[in-house]
């Protein structure tokens, strides 16, 4: 199973036979519990067309020639397409290394206008922690970003930092992770707890994340699993998001 996943991650993906979720990802499904529905995603799925925008920084990318194809935003499109047969899924990525939350918010409107997503997946926090941005300003940037996305017609999922064992004593993530959690609760936004998911993989030995060496295959498998679990989260939250009363009442035939 692991070798299959490895193959899938490394081969050029276009036109491949449908892949299934690698079993190694599944151990972290317990971390996906959340209670906030995504009404716009539900509506988009019902309309058979789901556009997703991934906004992120360096940890949403992988280096190398195949980096863009093996990083989780590209893999997410595959996973979603498979979970939602018959729905035209399109994932666009607005990803650039080294950006703080506030910097992403500044340029958020254009990618939103271009992609017209029903869902914005927003990965942030690491760069803010590295630069020790004032926690209050980080919080406010998250507020703003969520509001901008919502007024552009998109639901939001927040993605927190990676679990990075070797830099843990150098980057103080806690404050930023806490603030992100609180903002998510305040706005009824699902939080994809990438940190705990990756930590669980590391603890269970699913992936060796402590290894210092340059191993692109493991990195690609990790991103693939992140994509699959994200797709699961989107799918589950969309199922919870039944017809929203005021939005659907007038014309709803069923």
């Amino acid at each position: 199973m692991k070798r299959l996943a490895l193959l899938l991650a490394l081969l050029p993906l276009a036109g491949m036979a449908m892949a299934e979720q690698p079993a190694e990802c599944l151990v972290a499904q317990t971390q996906l519990e959340q209670a906030f529905p995504l009404h716009r995603v539900t509506a988009a799925i019902a309309a058979k067309k789901l556009n997703v925008l991934v906004v992120g920084a360096g940890s949403s990318t992988l280096p190398g020639a195949n980096g863009a194809k093996t990083a989780y935003p590209a893999r997410l499109q595959k996973a979603l397409a498979e979970l939602l047969p018959g729905v035209a899924v399109k994932v666009t990525a607005d990803v650039k290394a080294g950006r703080t939350a506030a910097e992403m918010v500044k340029t958020l409107e254009k990618p939103l206008a271009d992609a017209k997503p029903a869902l914005m997946i927003w990965q942030t926090g690491t760069v803010d922690a590295m630069q020790a941005v004032d926690a209050d300003q980080f919080s406010q940037a998250l507020d703003q970003g969520i509001n901008i996305a919502r007024s552009a017609g998109a639901d939001v999922i927040l993605v927190n930092s990676q679990y990075s064992p070797r830099t843990e004593s150098m980057i103080a993530l806690t404050t930023y992770a806490d603030n992100m959690r609180w903002v998510a609760l305040q706005h009824d936004v699902p939080l994809f707890n990438r940190f705990e998911i990756m930590k669980l993989w590391a603890d269970l030995g699913t992936f060796d994340l402590t290894g210092a060496a340059n191993k692109l295959d493991i990195a690609a498998r990790v991103h693939n699993c992140v994509a699959w679990l994200l797709a699961d989260l989107v799918n589950e939250a969309a199922k919870q998001g039944g017809p929203q009363t005021e939005a659907v009442k007038p014309g709803a035939g069923n």
Partner: protein, 389 residues
């Protein structure tokens, strides 16, 4: 108003006990991804061990230097406070050197494609001149090295505050609270390097330190009537339960969904940098409940069970610094050797054992020094001459 003298001459062992425990908790919390840190109080409420440490440090500072001010006057006791601040500064710089060594090791052995972004944190090694200078200025502070700079600033200000506290305790306390409020209002803080502000804002955290000092100089007695009242105790218990429920919601989202929106809007964000009111209340509630359970003459305080924590609390600077070093070392063991659960438990227990051993050693050494030969002015004799600062 009449000056207040320290209430009792005998050291309250509860202070040492809880400061010792706080030091252990800080150590456990400082090892990243340590499963044992699930037992620490920050996971069950708003405040954490830092509040306990700062409050008790204020209390003992007033107790010790207040007595020195009685005996030797303002100038001499102030000099002692500043000497202490200097010692802490040296300790901080020493820890920074160890931290640099760890970082430099990681920098040249780490090349994982998952973490290209995270590795950017090592960039400051490219400019060691600036980094080291900023660290000496206390503007560049690595992870988990924020408490000592806070302590340095609190002590550096302490002499005039102590002077005022002994003359007009209520005025001093009100001034401290007013300064805290102004800090919130105007967003005062000390700038940090390369960006941002101090993680523990001294302008805000001073309030807890001064409150501790005020309690030591008779405030605790004044409060005792309130602290013992069943109303206050029930309020404290209720608040702790509320904080527990909210905190559990952070780990179990379905629980969080039960919290009404207006409550979320009121409580978040809970500001650690500026010592949020929710955190103060949580600390005070903990204190009220603790005092209720643990009276001053609690027999267990003199038993061997309490001794390890008490001895650590009595030598807090040494124990704290050692704890910071040990948490680096513990993290190193996790990444280089193993981070299985047995290792995590072993590292945590070994760390605490080393802290206790070191504190016992310091305690023994200080006893020997005091007994030692050579002409030494007996410290207990008050010498008022020349002490009228």
């Amino acid at each position: 108003m009449a000056p207040l003298a320290p209430v009792s001459t005998e050291r309250d062992l509860r202070l040492d006990l809880f400061r010792g425990l706080a030091l252990w908790l800080i150590f456990l919390d400082h090892i990243p991804s340590n499963a044992v840190s699930w037992i620490t109080i920050r996971n069950y409420g708003f405040s954490d061990a830092t509040e306990i440490f700062v409050f008790i440090s204020g209390y003992t500072a007033a107790f010790v230097y207040g007595r020195a001010m009685d005996q030797h006057g303002f100038v001499v006791s102030s000099a002692r406070v500043l000497k202490r601040a200097w010692q802490i500064y040296i300790a901080h710089v020493f820890l920074f050197a160890i931290y640099l060594a760890e970082i430099a090791y990681v920098a040249h052995s780490f090349d994982n494609p998952l973490y290209t972004e995270e590795m950017g944190v090592l960039d400051f090694l490219k400019e060691p001149d600036i980094t080291i200078l900023q660290a000496l200025l206390l503007k560049f502070k690595p992870v988990n090295m924020d408490v000592l700079p806070l302590y340095i600033v609190l002590l550096a200000w302490f002499p005039p505050i102590l002077w005022l506290l002994r003359r007009a305790p209520s005025t001093a306390l009100i001034a401290s609270a007013a300064f805290y409020s102004l800090t919130w209002w105007f967003d005062w803080n000390i700038p940090a390097y390369p960006k941002g502000v101090w993680l523990f804002n001294p302008f805000a955290w001073q309030m807890l330190f001064v409150f501790g000092a005020w309690c030591a100089l008779g405030g605790a007695q004044r409060l005792s009537r309130w602290i013992d009242s069943p109303v206050v105790i029930s309020l404290a218990a209720f608040y702790l339960a509320f904080a527990f429920f909210i905190t559990m919601g952070w780990y179990f989202p379905r629980l969080a969904a039960l919290v009404p929106k207006f409550v979320n809007d009121i409580i978040y964000p809970i500001d650690k940098t500026n010592l949020d009111v929710l955190r103060i209340l949580h600390f005070l509630s903990l204190a009220v409940i603790t005092i209720w359970f643990v009276p001053r003459d609690w027999p267990a305080l003199k038993s061997p069970v309490a001794w390890p924590a008490i001895v650590c609390g009595q030598h807090s600077l040494e124990t704290f610094c050692l704890g910071v070093f040990l948490s680096f070392a513990g993290h190193f063991v996790f990444t280089e050797i193993s981070n299985g659960l047995p290792t995590q438990v072993a590292v945590s227990l070994a760390g605490i054992a080393i802290m206790v051993g070191a504190a016992a050693l310091v305690s023994w050494y200080k006893r020997v020094e005091r007994r030692g030969p050579g002409p030494r002015p007996p410290a207990a004799t008050p010498s008022y001459a020349g002490g009228a600062g």
